[in-house]
Symmetry: C2
Subunit: 317 residues, 2 copies
Amino acid sequence: MKKEIVIGIDIGGTNTDFGIVDKDGNILWNDSIKTAQYDNIEHYINEISIKIKTILKKFKTDFIVKGVGVGAPNGNYFTGNIEFAPNLKWKGIIPFANLLSKELNLPVTLTNDANAAALGEMIYGAAKGMKDFIVITLGTGVGSGIVVNGELLYGHDGFAGELGHTVVFPDGRLCGCGKNGCLETYASATGIVKTAFEKLDNLKNHSLLRSIDRITLSSKDIFIAAEKGDKIALEIFEFTGKVLGLKLADAIAFSSPEAIILFGGLANAGEYIFTPTKKYMEYYLLPFFRNKVKLLPSLLKKQNAAVLGAAALAWKI
Amino acid sequence: MKKEIVIGIDIGGTNTDFGIVDKDGNILWNDSIKTAQYDNIEHYINEISIKIKTILKKFKTDFIVKGVGVGAPNGNYFTGNIEFAPNLKWKGIIPFANLLSKELNLPVTLTNDANAAALGEMIYGAAKGMKDFIVITLGTGVGSGIVVNGELLYGHDGFAGELGHTVVFPDGRLCGCGKNGCLETYASATGIVKTAFEKLDNLKNHSLLRSIDRITLSSKDIFIAAEKGDKIALEIFEFTGKVLGLKLADAIAFSSPEAIILFGGLANAGEYIFTPTKKYMEYYLLPFFRNKVKLLPSLLKKQNAAVLGAAALAWKI
């Protein structure tokens, strides 16, 4: 019997990664193109389709292609559209799943990148066997994929799971969404750099971070300084963990998950982000939720995670 | 063919209301006992069972009794237990559904009172035909029942939907749960009275509320003053709506509901609470959620709402 495979496509603002994935999460082939080089969606669809059709000619003799899963910023599962994505060049509403499905002659399912990550963890990663969990993606922004009773939570119009835009400080930092004080402005890779500027300005301690040009200062620099015991760097992680822990406690009060999984850039800071986040999450939890909800790192390999997440979606077709 | 009926039981800290309900939400018979008079759970179960068995003898000739639904504070749907309810005299874990089922020889399903209210709205009230909505109960405390894709959200251990204990101000008012700054300490009948004290102390305006003894000052007094155009009373509702609207916006970002339904005491203040809550809910929403999510009053009759909610649970058996 021919083995089944799917195609996973992860659309980021900079790159689009895609690959052929089997049921066990092995990536049998992968490639990428530069998303930002395509002002025109038709050219982009054309380019990616040619690459996929070429490789599928080889695979089709031994495998059955079940379908295509796409993880995209502002991707709507119900419509298959990418809707008003601020970090993509294609403006307005793009009927992405339809366009790609016509080119490839395969079923295409699309969702946002955080939902794809949640499916990836459920099928291939840290949430194997779980039915109720939340994946928080800590990247340039903060996203979330919420799984309830074994199914992704989409809500009435397909946009559930925007925990990055719940409010921490009503009069806080201006967010890309136009509001103030969203979690994303504190717990993202860009948010933690803003916290670094504040701490460097408001505290007097010596810090390795003071010698780094503010234009280039990154979350990775803060991690490296923390590893060297830099007090301000540790203070930055403490504050970030406090804000994140507070909002995770809110999320637990909402959906009572078995686990919360941290995924992406900032989660790679390991204990520096996990320890304060766990401490404050427990502190802000209703007593009967305490010491019950696991806080776990992603188990998807960093470079493949997004493609695996998108591929996981295709198995649901 | 015999018509089907169910029994709905609503357990409150003071009273327990129960009744026989048909599929259309008609209450065919109802009664109540004083919850607080029974220190011993066996005596309570015995008393309520005698009353129900006596009336069922009459009903059984014309009706089929499908089962019993119970709405209880800290009720766990998965276990049928009432667990550590602070406002009840029965301490620890009470296997309520089991105890009652043995006495009545009927299937008994139990959930918390806010979940029961949500089912009541879905089957008999404002959420008829909806699959994704949230009911917020604004009573002595603040509870919530979240419906996702037509099903109550219970989560991993049956305690999902504790929006009353999400945090508004991390260093804010002390909550009965032991934490600080929970929504419940602001948007409940007791919370709004605390806000009244703060406003009366911090503002200099003349107010009708100044002539009321603080020991007896209630949310109803604030409503009556607001109706007369009292500035401080209006200010109190404005602040309460701001806090509630903020947390409703968070809830919408989480589960993307079609509607939020306000139920119970404070919701009866009508436009005084709905207008500011709606204003701030929209203000704190992600732009693409704005002007899409309905904010509705409960459509369950006040005196019957809780019994109907509990009865709705029994139809799910």
